[in-house]
Amino acid sequence: MTKKAFLVLEDGSIYPGESFGYEGETFGEIVFNTSMTGYQEILTDPSYAGQIVVPTYPLLGNYGITSSDIESSQIQVAGFVVRQYCEEPSHTKITGTINEYLDSQEIVGISEIDTRAVTRKIRSKGVMMGVIAVNISPEQALQQLKNKPSYDEQNFVQKVTTNERYQWMESGLGYDHIADNLRILVSDYGLKYNILRILKGKGCDVEVFPSSATSDDLLTQNPDGILLSPGPGDPELLDHLVATTADILGKVPVMGICLGNQILAKSLGAKTYKLKFGHRGANHPVKDTASGRIYITAQNHGYSIDPESLPSDVDVTHISMNDGTVEGIRHRSLPALSIQYHSEASPGPKDNEYIFDDFLEIVKETK
């Protein structure tokens, strides 16, 4: 018999549901994601560290868990809030159910939740802290929540980055080898494997470095290009990454994705701010300001670049069609470009992989 559970938000709202995954308590920032597929990729995306994710799509776990749909070595979300999960998934290569998956990695979930009501709350009040409580009362949960550090105060990058540098060997399928033997270093702020798969698939020699790597650590490798990866948390807490990036700028081509975009912008002197409820989903339209073309992108960010703060030698190359926020920048003279969305998709539309090609083109030109 399933156990009762509660989702309790910082503002005191209580949503009763049923325990799912690991039975326990978990605290984190409540965010919603509007993707309709790709739950395993979302669960394993390190950018969700410290966050309790609410998929707006109500039916989760339909095609089970596989060994291939992972974006990092483990589940990264702090908790998972669903309407209904599937105990009897159907697909070709299933290794388990979503329930078993969460349970095995001690991730607390809750099901039977009116996730649309939670989403509407977040949309109107903004993201806030919350707790999933299984063994304690909602009141106790709220009390404990008050004593927890807020999301914005925590440095999650140091928790999710790799401890050791490593070579990446798995190749994404179906790519043209346009960048054979280019040496690309990836600064791991909380990266998704698919970035590595794509780069490797295009022929790059890919090596991943911990976020603690200094500019010397990186530059002494004689890289052809450096990619600043996505990752969790507030860039305000990451001055050391900004400084490292400022050091390498101009010395080697740099591409930033998501958090990497924010770090690059800050290293160019720009500021970032927190969005009310962020952009998380696989349907976000972004306009390429040069061509006027629209691209549907996968997004997952809670912070954004303040366009007013960008120096004049930086162009805004992409903007969000939903709210006009900055989605991509490029330096006019230095070999540096970055995007706020996820060109590596996974989950999400694969329309934006061309950004990697743009970057690799710059790398080749600079070499």
């Binding site: 309709m36 597929t37 159907s90 006027g292």
Partner: protein, 1117 residues
């Protein structure tokens, strides 16, 4: 951006037929509105009057004219549009566009083709070109080879791998072909296929039957921006037409990798085709492991998906996708067509974001087709590549199980709730699986549930059907809940869980031997009630303005009661034979009329194809089943907790949703829920045989004598008193055993036996059947006075269902006296019944000829002087002819009706009372059938309705009007040709005129023996043809199949062997797609129109016909 066109011609899709239904009214209407928003003038042409798109205020110029190249060329000549938009008119629109281009018409008048180029249309439609295009962009298609010998075939098989589909070239209906799964069956089928093909050629193609079937709706603008609106997964795997598949949106069993793989492929295809607008791409995807195990060699197949088909236009699927997501595909496609880009088009739902995004759903949508086999029990029920459904329902909920159960409720098949089972399935205890019809057919969903109920495992059903186990396991969760309810106390938790899985109060009650009312009461006490959530395209990410809601058992309600005056308009549910798009037309007008009067309109409907379920038709839309539970819940939800109207129940309008809505009147009344317009009592009097007879007697208006019987003896006695022929019908409708005309006591005995068995002892009505002229009247009444917009006479005699009759407005052949009597009867019935709103009355005129020629009637024809008029039935609601009569007279019937319901007087509305004066035009409504799609169904006209749609011919004279109606209905006889006549004995004496007309027109006559001797006796030339198939060649079927004759007249009387005899003649004609007349009256009218000199009809806009009538008037004499 190229210069925006100023004036655009939009082609509609014509009459409703299987495969092309109301979705194109929805698409066309939305497109016209969308174009007008951008300041573009629109010209619309469609032959179907029962559409919103052909309303005066939807397009700037509306033509209700035949959809032919000639007519459209004339329209182009008159209107001089700069562009043509054909992609919203279904296949009809697309085909016409190609024909117009090929005829050089567009070039001649400098008209630009928008949406899809002829080149892309051809690339999408031509199999070979399509295959080349796909190969070009590296998209996989199922491998196939054309072979001419057994050796070549074997080689092909070895390359492709089994299973393969074998299709012989040039055989009708795939004779000799099949699917081969092993070498033995391959050898057998190849041999039969090669010999069946007249050129000894077969196609050997990789079989993907059993693979998953997916659809993607994609859009592209002129700047090459592409988006996916929605993907959909067919629950029925490959092998069943997508229109006949149960469909779920979004896909449920695809991983993100698969979802994106197919999405990427769809975008590549639309880009390559260069379509500017919407497009639908269908895929086959390798099935999950449970199903894959049943398919041999699945591992060796190569690609994990194949591209199956592309529709380079708005389609049925795109209508479904629009309603499933809230994203208005047709609206956006129209704007793209005039050069706007996706980011320039506002998302009309959020009014904050733009159309360049992909909708996110936070619910599950289930579509179930509505098949016509309740009407056609003899039809071939197997589903395959030929679509058979007439309509569909859609349901939305937060779980698949709940959405599915809601969709089953929405089907409205009498006596077939989700628990329906055919007792025949279980006659043999040992082999449930052998008896259950789990092969693709219209009963499969019930059969699957029945199997699960008897402990057949979900995976076993999946292995046998190819349906992904994700779905069969969901079904088994429904069955598990049935069992839990039966064996447990109904606690709060259990009841809430059951409701969250979609169980109705009725079903829960049945399981516990309680009534639905008991469960409802318990539910209310426990405060378990549905909430309503919005369909907003964005999964709540942005605030949305659109009042489009569905019910679900969750915590937060988003549909706060509307304030102020408001009314519920009950829609008509899925399109089925007998209840078509006309009622959606009425529902939409009712919503608009309410708004005009300052009353908020709340629409309830379950049909995704329609204009009524468009998000901006009403003030609020509840996408819900039309049953008691759902309507009561909505009324509860609309009850205000505070304010002056606190506690008031929102009144319902039941007159416009066909039988579906009117049937709910008694349920509403019992619970004291208010009804606008005619009261439940009035409705009851009109509907109850006994009350109705008493009522008519009271006001001294005659109806055909009759009675009711509950056994054979009573029936024989009634029939004996009133004399044969009699019209019999059950007081319920079940399995298609409905109305029949019975000529003899033997036939009556047979009928009663069947009816009593099927009806569990309920009564059968028996009425005198008068062979007479049938006349139909629609009227609006305010309780004090009655307005009759016009009188329609049927071409066919009484006994042919009014929906299948041709109707002529005004009653051209009626005498002054007859018109006066009909007007008097109608007025008195309306007033005495206290009708508020619409009513429809059918009359039969007895005496004189049953067929009267509109061309030759004169006032003093003696034989009409002593006719008698009887009332056959009164329907206290809108009828099928409301759109027709409204358009042809210019009297906005629904609008007036709604105003009378709100208490206004007809005398204040500007149309007067009594019979509205005819305006010098003639309108002919003709039925349209979909018989070529329904094998095994007999086509003869009788008291059971069979048509799926209708067309209208309008002009200043009868010959022109009927010519146009016949052209649009595909019943127009060719100018010259040969015709096969097989006329029943009863009709022979009335066939002289028909024969004369055919001979005058220069026709060669072929006839069966009896008819041939009649023709010879008249001194005309005729070739006699054997009727029976075993009496030598060429026989009747041969002359049809080999093209000797261009049309067939085959009339029948009664239900005996004569019907059986003609069956193969009629089916052959239907399959050959040549006109086939089964009523002597239709044939006579059609022949009469031949004698007028060629097609000299007008082509004019409706405004020109109605507002400025000219030409010769054919008003009632």
């Amino acid at each position: 951006m190229t210069e925006k066109p100023k004036k655009i011609l939009v082609i509609g899709s014509g009459p409703i037929v299987i495969g092309q239904a109301a979705e194109f009214d929805y698409a066309g209407t939305q497109a016209c509105k969308s174009l007008r928003e951008e300041g573009v003038e629109t010209i619309l042409v469609n032959s179907n009057p029962a559409t919103i798109m052909t309303d005066e205020d939807v397009a700037d110029f509306v033509y209700i004219e035949p959809l032919t190249v000639q007519v459209i060329s004339r329209i182009i000549e008159r209107e001089q549009p700069d562009a043509l938009l054909p992609t919203l008119g279904g296949q009809t629109g697309l085909n016409l566009a190609v024909e117009l281009v090929e005829a050089g018409v567009l070039e001649q008048y400098g008209v630009k083709l928008l949406g899809s180029s002829v080149d892309s249309i051809k690339k999408a439609e031509d199999r070979q070109l399509f295959r080349e295009l796909l190969t070009d962009i590296g998209e996989p298609t199922p491998p196939s080879f054309v072979v001419n010998s057994y050796e070549e075939a074997t080689e092909a098989k070895n390359t492709i791998g089994l299973p393969v589909v074998i299709r012989p070239a040039y055989t009708l209906g795939g004779t000799g072909g099949g699917i081969a799964a092993d070498d033995d069956s391959f050898n057998a089928i190849i041999k039969s296929g090669l010999s069946a093909s007249p050129i000894h050629q077969v196609l050997v193609e990789k079989s993907i039957v059993g693979w998953k079937e997916l659809e993607y709706e994609v859009m592209r603008d002129g700047s090459d921006n592409c988006i996916t609106v929605c993907n959909m997964e067919n629950i029925d795997p490959m092998g069943v037409h997508t229109g006949d598949s149960i469909v779920v949106a979004p896909s449920q069993t695809l991983s993100d990798n698969e979802y994106q793989m197919l999405r990427t492929a769809s975008l590549k295809i639309i880009r390559k085709l260069g379509i500017e607008g919407g497009c639908n791409v269908q895929f086959a995807l390798v099935p999950g492991n449970v199903v894959a195990e049943t398919l041999p060699d699945i591992e060796k197949t190569g690609p994990s998906y194949y591209v199956i088909e592309v529709n380079p236009r708005v389609s049925r699927s795109s209508a479904l996708a629009s309603k499933a997501t809230g994203y208005p595909i047709a609206r956006v496609a129209a704007k793209i067509a005039i050069g706007m880009s996706l980011d320039e088009i506002q998302n009309a739902v959020t009014q904050k974001t733009v159309a360049a995004f992909e909708p996110a759903l936070d619910y599950c949508v289930v579509k179930i087709p509505r098949w016509p086999f309740d009407k056609f029990p003899s039809g071939e029920r197997t589903l395959g590549t030929q679509m058979k459904a007439t309509g569909e329902v859609m349901a939305i909920d937060r779980t698949f199980e709940a959405a599915f159960q809601k969709a089953v409720r929405s089907l409205e098949i009498t006596n077939r709730s989700i628990v329906w089972e055919d007792p025949l399935w279980f006659s043999d205890e040992e082999s449930i699986l052998n008896k259950l019809p789990i092969y693709p057919n219209d009963q499969r969903l019930w059969a699957l549930l029945a199997g699960l109920r008897r402990n057949v495992s979900a995976d076993e059903l999946s292995r046998r059907t190819g349906i992904d186990p994700w779905f069969t396991r969901s079904f088994s969760r429904i069955i598990a809940m049935e069992k839990t309810i039966e064996s447990n106390d109904l606690s709060y938790d259990l009841l809430r869980k059951a409701k969250r899985l979609g169980f109705t109060d009725q079903r829960i009650g049945e399981l516990l031997n309680q009534s639905a009312k008991d469960i409802r009461k318990l539910r209310k006490n426990l405060n378990i009630k549905p909430v309503y959530k919005m369909v907003d395209t964005c999964a709540a990410e942005f605030e949305a303005q659109t009042p489009y809601f569905y019910s679900t058992y969750e915590t937060e309600n988003e549909a706060e009661p509307l304030h102020g005056k408001k009314a519920l308009v009950l829609g008509s549910g899925p399109i089925r034979i007998g209840q078509g798009i006309e009622f959606d037309y009425c529902s939409v007008h009712a919503a608009w009329a309410l708004q005009e009067e300052g009353v908020k309109s709340i629409l309830v409907n379950s049909n995704p194809e329609t204009v009524s379920t468009d998000f901006d038709t009403s003030d609020r839309l509840y996408f819900e089943p039309l049953d008691e539970e759902s309507i009561f819940d909505i009324i509860d939800n609309e009850r205000l907790a505070t304010g002056p109207e606190q506690g008031d129940n929102t009144p319902s309008i039941v007159q416009f949703g066909g039988q579906t809505a009117i049937n709910l009147s008694q349920n509403l009344d019992k619970e004291s829920m208010p009804i606008l317009g005619s009261t439940a009592h009035t409705i009851d009097v009109a509907s109850d045989r006994h009350l109705f007879e008493e009522f008519l007697r009271g006001i001294n208006i005659p109806n055909p004598p009759g009675g009711s019987a509950s056994n054979i003896e009573e029936a024989l006695q009634v029939a004996n008193e009133i004399k044969y022929p009699v019209l019999v019908r059950p007081s319920y409708v079940l399995g298609g055993r409905a109305m029949e005309i019975v000529q003899t006591p033997e036939e009556l005995q047979r009928y009663m036996k069947d009816a009593l068995e099927a009806g569990e002892g309920r009564k059968v009505s028996i009425d005198k059947y008068f062979v007479g002229k049938e006349v139909e009247v629609d009227a609006v009444c305010d309780g004090d006075s009655v307005l009759i917009p016009g009188i329609m006479e049927h071409v066919e005699r009484a006994g042919v269902h009014s929906g299948d009759s041709m109707a002529i407005y005004p009653g051209l052949t009626l005498t002054k006296q007859e018109i006066a009597t009909i007007t008097d009867y109608t007025t008195r019935i309306g007033k005495s019944l206290n009708i508020k709103g619409l009513m429809n009355i059918q009359y039969v005129i007895v005496g004189g000829n049953t067929y009267r020629s509109p061309g030759s009637i004169t006032e003093d024809t003696a034989e009409y002087e002593k006719t008698e008029i009887f009332v056959i039935e009164v329907n206290p609601r809108s009828s099928r002819t409301i759109p027709f009569i409204s358009k042809v007279t210019g009297v906005p019937m629904v609008n007036l009706a709604v105003k009378t319901m709100l208490g206004k007087q007809l005398t204040d509305m500007g149309y007067g009372t009594g019979l509205f004066s005819a305006n010098g035009i003639v309108g002919v409504k003709a039925p349209v059938f979909s018989m070529s799609k329904l094998t095994g169904v007999d086509t003869y006209l009788g008291p059971e309705m069979k048509s799926t749609g209708e067309v209208m011919g309008i002009d200043h004279d009868f010959e022109s009007a009927i010519s146009k109606a016949l052209i649009s209905a595909n019943l127009r006889l060719p100018e010259k040709g040969s015709i096969l006549l097989s006329i029943s004995d009863e009709d022979k004496k009335q066939s002289g005129r028909l024969i004369q007309n055919l001979v005058d027109a220069g026709y060669d006559l072929f006839a069966t023996e009896g008819t041939a001797s009649l023709i010879s006796e008249l001194g005309k030339k005729v070739v006699a043809i054997p009727k029976r198939l075993n009496e030598g060649h060429p026989n009747v079927v041969d002359v049809i199949v080999n093209g000797t004759v261009n049309a067939v007249v085959n009339t029948i009387t009664g239900n005996g062997s004569a019907v059986q005899d003609g069956f193969h003649i009629r089916r052959a004609a239907v399959e050959k797609r040549i006109p086939c007349f089964t009523s002597i009256d239709t044939a006579t009218a059609a022949a009469e129109s031949l004698t007028s000199e060629g097609p000299n009809y007008n082509v004019k806009s409706m405004l020109e016909y109605i507002r400025a009538p000219q030409g010769e008037s054919h008003n009632a004499k």
